[in-house]
């Protein structure tokens, strides 16, 4: 699969519009995330891809309009939100079922159990699994047939550091092997450096999309520059005088002068370093968190 596109997808549940003409696109080797508050339509959009929800619009694979039929689903692995399995089955039995259903070998089951860190718990019943273990088992079930497209709905829920490590390694592997990953999540900060494209949804509508960097630019939230000053009070006074004239919103806390500046004025602000030689011991540029970018973009969407 080289490319995949959902074009102008709309879903209605009675009078409620769950999705309103939403379009997303993925290319080979890309990881794409869907962002948005509860009820934004993220999970619904993932279900549209799997044919679990009736919708209008088009599914286009490699430039050809298709349907979410069995041929398409053979290329897709899915980890649902709040994944669950029959409680009486062991992790090994669950994965063996998915392997049989997908035509994967027993050796692959053992390989996946090891990959998701459940080899030692494979014989235990799922009822004794923690939420994170269930999530890892779900990830294993989704990846058992090495699908072209991995669809992960809130995959970080309940995962500990080890689990997150497994998730990131799978994400990296899928991208490196030229496959696709589509993720719906609330954990923005975790995803920032791990995805290529982000789609922001609100109340069933697509607000904006782009790379994490381009979304940062679009939000245009000021960056914070912290100047840690030396103890010499004469140097401090001289620096603060220059800095205040350059940026009246500057705040002094302990020996640190902080100022919020638009991204385009960052270089000019950092140049204050040379204004009073020897006054600044250290400078830090703190970019706004992606959650702030997200809040700002949602606020603008109204």
């Amino acid at each position: 699969m080289e490319s995949l596109e959902l074009r102008k997808v709309s879903v209605r549940f009675g009078r409620v519009s769950a999705l309103d003409s939403v379009s997303i696109a993925l290319q080979r080797g890309q990881a794409v995330t869907l962002l948005g508050p509860n009820g934004a339509g993220k999970s619904t959009l993932l279900k549209v891809l799997l044919g679990l929800v009736r919708s209008s619009g088009q599914l286009i694979v490699d430039g050809t309009a298709t349907r979410a039929d069995n041929t398409f689903k053979q290329q897709v692995g899915y980890l649902p939100e709040a994944v669950a399995f029959p409680e009486n089955l062991s992790g090994d039995q669950v994965l063996r079922f998915f392997a049989r259903a997908r035509g994967s070998s027993r050796a692959r089951v053992l390989e996946v159990l090891k990959r998701v860190g459940l080899s030692s718990a494979a014989g235990r019943a799922v009822r004794g699994y923690s939420r994170g273990m269930r999530q890892r088992l779900g990830l294993g079930a989704a990846m058992i047939s090495e699908p072209e497209l991995l669809i992960l709905d809130e995959p970080t829920g309940g995962l500990d550091l080890e689990g997150l490590g497994v998730l990131w390694s799978v994400l990296t592997e899928w991208r490196e092997r030229g496959r696709m990953v589509l993720i719906s999540t609330h954990d923005l900060s975790l995803m920032e450096h791990r995805v290529d494209q982000m789609y922001l949804l609100k109340a069933g509508r697509l607000i904006t999309h782009g790379s994490p960097v381009s979304l940062r630019h679009a939000a245009a939230i000021p960056v914070r520059v912290d100047f840690e000053l030396v103890a010499d009070s004469a140097l401090q006074r001289a620096f603060l005088s220059r800095a205040e004239s350059a940026n009246p919103s500057m705040q002094l806390r302990a020996n640190t002068a902080s100022m919020q500046v638009p991204a385009e004025r960052l270089l000019e602000t950092i140049n204050l370093l040379g204004a009073v030689p020897g006054a600044v011991a250290q400078v830090r540029v703190v970019e706004p968190g992606l959650d702030l970018v997200y809040d700002e973009l949602l606020r603008r969407a109204g």
């Binding site: 549940f13 619904t44 279900k47 799997l50 044919g51 679990l52 929800v53 009736r54 069995n70 041929t71 689903k73 053979q74 897709v76 899915y78 649902p80 709040a82 994944v83 669950a84 399995f85 029959p86 009486n88 089955l89 079922f97 998915f98 049989r100 259903a101 997908r102 035509g103 779900g138 079930a141 669809i151």
Partner: protein, 264 residues
């Protein structure tokens, strides 16, 4: 049936075969069949002749209940556990999912029936052929009520609702249906023909099982002898009724699942 369907069928069979409730009820059925047969064997000639009819009565009560309970959580259980979406994300049609669940559970039910009747056959050496004649109608009775249980599971939003509905269904079809017909016969004061009553008995799988197996085990006059003058529907109609009771609920369940808009 495709690869996913077969995997699901196998999974359903083993899940049921390992289920403590299914094992208990199978053991109970085998025990009761054995007890009835042992009693018949130790009694006089009349007692021996009643072994078959007694087993028919026992089977017509127990097998529908087991089958209904076996089917009641097939779809709603998956829905309530939030596993239906993951199952349907596999390359499988919704109708195939219903069919695989039916086939897997039916296999488990047939094992349970085989255990019960097998125990009876093992004890009653002289009557083995007679008892073996019960195997096919009992399996058809089980398949019909299992299909009905799966249909109830498909229309229910909660497992507890499905459980209540199968019990109501069992009471209605196994107990109250015949009483209702008796009431109709009395109330109509003979204006409803025995032919009509015969048909009304036969369209209920429990009634069809009872009348046809009794007729085959004890001869055509047995029902008249028991004071129930009911004509049979004929072999072709009988086969069609059995097929309809299995195929229609499963088809309807598949249709309902396919029409569902939001699959969790």
């Amino acid at each position: 049936m495709g690869r996913v369907g077969v995997a699901l069928l196998v999974q359903e069979f083993w899940d049921r075969a390992r289920d403590r409730w299914v094992l208990t009820i199978s053991a109970l059925f085998a025990l009761l069949c054995s007890a009835v047969t042992l009693y018949g064997k130790s009694a006089d000639e009349v007692g021996t002749q009643l072994t078959g009819p007694s087993l028919v009565t026992l089977t017509s009560l127990l097998v529908p209940l087991v089958a209904l309970v076996l089917g009641h959580d097939a779809v709603v259980g998956e829905r309530e556990r939030n596993t239906l979406g993951m199952l349907l994300s596999l390359p499988v049609s919704r109708f195939e999912v219903v069919l695989a669940k039916f086939a897997g559970r039916l296999m488990a039910l047939l094992c349970s029936i085989a255990l019960g009747l097998g125990a009876a056959v093992a004890i009653a050496h002289g009557q083995s052929a007679v008892l073996l004649r019960l195997a096919l109608p009992t399996s058809l009775l089980g398949a019909s009520f299992l299909a009905l249980g799966i249909l109830i599971s498909s229309v229910s939003r909660r497992q507890v609702t499905a459980a209540s509905l199968v019990v109501v269904c069992w009471f209605c079809l196994v107990f109250f249906y015949d009483l209702g017909l008796l009431g109709l016969l009395v109330a109509s004061d003979g204006s409803v023909s025995t032919g009509t009553i015969g048909w009304l008995v036969s369209i209920n799988p429990a009634g069809l099982f009872r009348t046809e197996t009794l007729r085959r085990l004890s001869g055509p006059g047995v029902l008249e002898h028991l004071g129930v003058a009911v004509g049979g529907p004929g072999r072709v109609a009988e086969v069609l009724i059995w097929i309809a009771w299995s195929v229609l609920p499963i088809g309807l369940s598949g249709l309902l699942l396919a029409r569902e808009r939001d699959m969790r």
